[in-house]
Amino acid sequence: METTTEIRSEGVPIPKSGADRHVKTFGTEIWNFLISLKLAIWTLILLAVTSILGTVVEQNQPLEKYQQVYEDWAYNLIVRFNLFDMYHSWWFLFLLCLFALNLTCCTVDRFPRAVRAVRRPKLILDEATEKSIGLAERWKNKGTVPQLAKSYKNALSRSFAAPRITETEGTVHLYAEKGVVSRFGAYATHVGILIIFIGAILGNLFGFKSHMNIPDGAQGSHIDIRGGKEHVDLPFAVRNNRFWMETYPNGQPKEYSSDLSVIENGREVVRKTITVNDPLVYKGIWFYQSSYGQATATAQLSVIRPDGTPLGSFSLPANEPARIEGYGVIRGVAYEENFQGKGPALKVAVEKGGRSATEFWIPKGGFDLDRRRGDSAVISFGGLTSSMYTGLQVAKDPGVNVVWLGCLLLTAGMMVSFFGSHRRIWIRLSEAQKGKVEITAAGTTNRNRPAFEKAFAAVLIEIRKESPDKTKEIAA
């Protein structure tokens, strides 16, 4: 993480202090504040500390609940600062914006300079650089500068990386570097975070989250979003063919599953059994197994004329009317599991031709049980069937892939910046006395110095193996 500080002092023109101090406008002051590490540290700490509040105050409950639980002053604070939904409150969003702004400004400020520093590295080992580098060694060797430069170049290529060669007034500079990419890890991490923010915003603007309950055999395409304030009609329907659950031998739930079909233009286009960790995705909309329950019961009824002519059979949901031609309107109004100690029975209300409804009980069984009423139709109650419904979480999030892209960049950047290091080695060869060359080798790294020291020593050994005799051989 020393990258940031080092980049500032390296190959970057430091702002001329004298003249600039007078023109240091309000604008530059704000800019310096926005790119400062101090702002970064304080925003991070503030975000961390304030985030605690939302874990202590239960979020998104009805306001009356807070009024009951908290003292008046605390309740007022909660309302004033949106603490019941603090992660979407104006002040928390403000902090997040400040954080994003800090990241953006830092990147804008430093990234171009980092690119420049990498594109135009310091190829020459001058006095100032030599002094600033702790890791340096000097020695003399027989031979001429061009000869040694050539053999050192080969040795450096073998043991470290191919060097670039610069000549100035009889002095030759070799410069080799490795792991430049680690200089960009922090930027990748920061941009990754910004991309995650963009993905989250996209999801909030163009996505939705909702819930739908579909009874066995039924289908649904209409969902309420944002707490029922808005509605979405899906361009297709989802049919729940069946919901079921499995349990372990000890009775603990093992899996919840729904056999779902996607119906589009009257045809089944996809069929999939979803489980808790395996949703159905169709046209960017995800259906998750999230709950289940008992659907409304339906009563099985058959109606005939007293002479046996059938008038129809019905599945009658509770309290829903069914019209029977030539008889009237039937409604199931009550059910008892053990009516007068004789087993299940259904209470129906029959309306005939505008007269007020008559209500009576029909025990479960054949037609004979209803004949004694002496009506123009005989009804038999075949029992109550109750089915399950599956509870589906429905979500559309066009930003989610953007979020994953951001996560990828964030992780990659982190790996590179924590485990990579930019290592640089300079070798300067200059003429000393007759037939001798003075050599200075220096190395620096932005991270993990102990490991680099070992590598540097190994490179030096490799280079110093190049004896003058051997040099001649290579030269010849």
Binding site: L37, E255, V276, M414
Partner: protein, 280 residues
């Protein structure tokens, strides 16, 4: 009914307790030989706990449940202690100094001692936990937590040494500590390992949540606390390269980060409620 794996974990707890005793006694009595015993006990604990994890894994298959043992509070504590011990042994070897032991091994011991008091049976997984993401999520998170534990232990050493004048006043127990620069560097290096692991843990958790619940982030208390931990260590990483913030303040942030980690790990389950409730 305790099975073999639990007996092996109990033995591990005992070993960590003994190792802690050895390391602390070595510091008080200035006896390197005691610390060396501590090292050997830690190596033994590593072997026993690794075997215990393997046995537990095998036992879960024999019970027809079959899964990596990283799925409940007991198993996570055990894995946490296992990782701390492993990281510690690496650090001890790399730095050739055994004084860390008195500050790091007790954390592993306390984790195991806590595990000793809670339900240790192998339970089948509820539907929400049946995901491959679970393993990646738990392993990365707890390996990260273990790295943070080491960082906090070393940060405590740094602060102790710093308060008594740093490297200038040799003598006493503090002379057995490595130099403040080495300590500061190790505080950072542990976090440099823990932070990417925690990040991976949060991301795998988000990916899993997206598959199970239809949202990658829902500000559930556990999620929020993991973010808090992440933010504190992010602050640490930036503090370290800022003038006036490195050294002491960075060490304090490392300890604050570990405190947040512990709350995220245990406090949320014990004090707050949320989607992660089956973890406790």
């Amino acid at each position: 009914m305790n099975t073999l794996n639990v007996h092996l974990f109990d033995l591990t707890t005992f070993l960590f307790g003994t190792a802690t005793g050895s390391y602390v006694a070595a510091l008080y009595g200035r006896k390197e030989s005691l610390a060396r015993i501590g090292t050997w006990i830690c190596i033994a604990a590593a072997v026993v706990s690794t075997a215990a994890i393997g046995v537990r894994w095998a036992e879960s298959y024999r019970m027809g449940i079959g899964r990596v043992p990283v799925t409940n509070l007991y198993e996570s504590l055990v894995f946490f202690a296992w990782s701390i011990n492993l990281f510690y042994l690496i650090v001890e070897r790399k730095y050739g100094n055994r004084s860390f032991g008195a500050f790091v091994v007790p954390i592993a011991f306390l984790a195991m001692a806590f595990a000793f008091t809670i339900e240790s049976g192998i339970q089948p997984l509820v539907p929400a936990l049946q995901s491959y993401w679970l393993h990646a999520h738990v392993i990365t998170c707890f390996a990260g937590y273990a790295a943070f534990a080491i960082s906090a232990g070393v940060a405590a050493m740094y602060l102790l040494k710093e308060r008594r004048g740093g490297d200038k006043t040799p003598g006493g127990v503090l002379a057995m500590f490595p130099g403040t620069r080495v300590l500061d560097d190790l505080v950072y290096k542990s976090i440099a390992w823990g932070f990417p692991l925690l990040t991976a843990g949060i991301i795998t958790g988000a990916a899993w949540a997206n598959f199970a619940w239809g949202t990658y982030w829902s500000w559930d208390p556990k999620e929020t606390w993991s973010l808090i931990v992440w933010l504190v260590y992010a602050a640490f990483l930036h503090a370290r390269v800022t003038r006036g913030w490195h050294g002491k303040r960075a060490a304090v942030l490392s300890i604050a980060g570990f405190a947040a980690t512990l709350f995220c790990y245990l406090g949320v389950n014990l004090v707050l409620s949320g989607l992660h409730s089956y973890g406790g």
